[in-house]
Symmetry: C2
Subunit: 85 residues, 2 copies
């Protein structure tokens, strides 16, 4: 069992009100020096069997068609160390 | 300017209905072989100045008090390559 992580973030040119809300709250909470915050989604997929190029291509397709809205979001797919769970 | 990434995921023992919904939808969409899906949040913080241990300690405190609900969520803090944006 291997873990594949898909990170989905709004494209840089798309306004991110969630991230902005966090960023504006930080000085009030005593945290200075954070110029920008962007918030996105992280999916951890537990894949059965070994992760080869074919599996990664499938996960890429899955992320593109289902996990991310590619009109406004970018995504990255990467393999993490084998999960223990 | 450096980018610090905070990943916030539900603890393994906490039910993740969002992730389950994704996982159950996958076979219907033609994607087999995914045993489990968990969905969490990813925050990208653009930190002014160099990222040293003191800054990382601050971000850790920030994540613990503000970005994550540590009763039900785990978080990780890591530095990514210097952002170009």
């Amino acid at each position: 069992m291997a873990r594949v992580v898909v990170d989905v973030m709004l494209k840089p040119e798309i306004l991110d009100p969630q991230g902005q809300a966090v960023q504006r709250a930080l000085p009030r909470l005593g945290f200075e020096g954070i110029a920008d915050v962007r918030q996105g989604k992280r999916f951890e997929l537990e894949v059965e069997g070994p992760v080869d190029d074919a599996v990664l291509a499938r996960v890429n397709e899955l992320a593109e068609t289902f996990l991310a809205n590619t009109v406004i979001e970018d995504f990255t797919v990467r393999v993490e160390e084998t999960a223990t769970a």
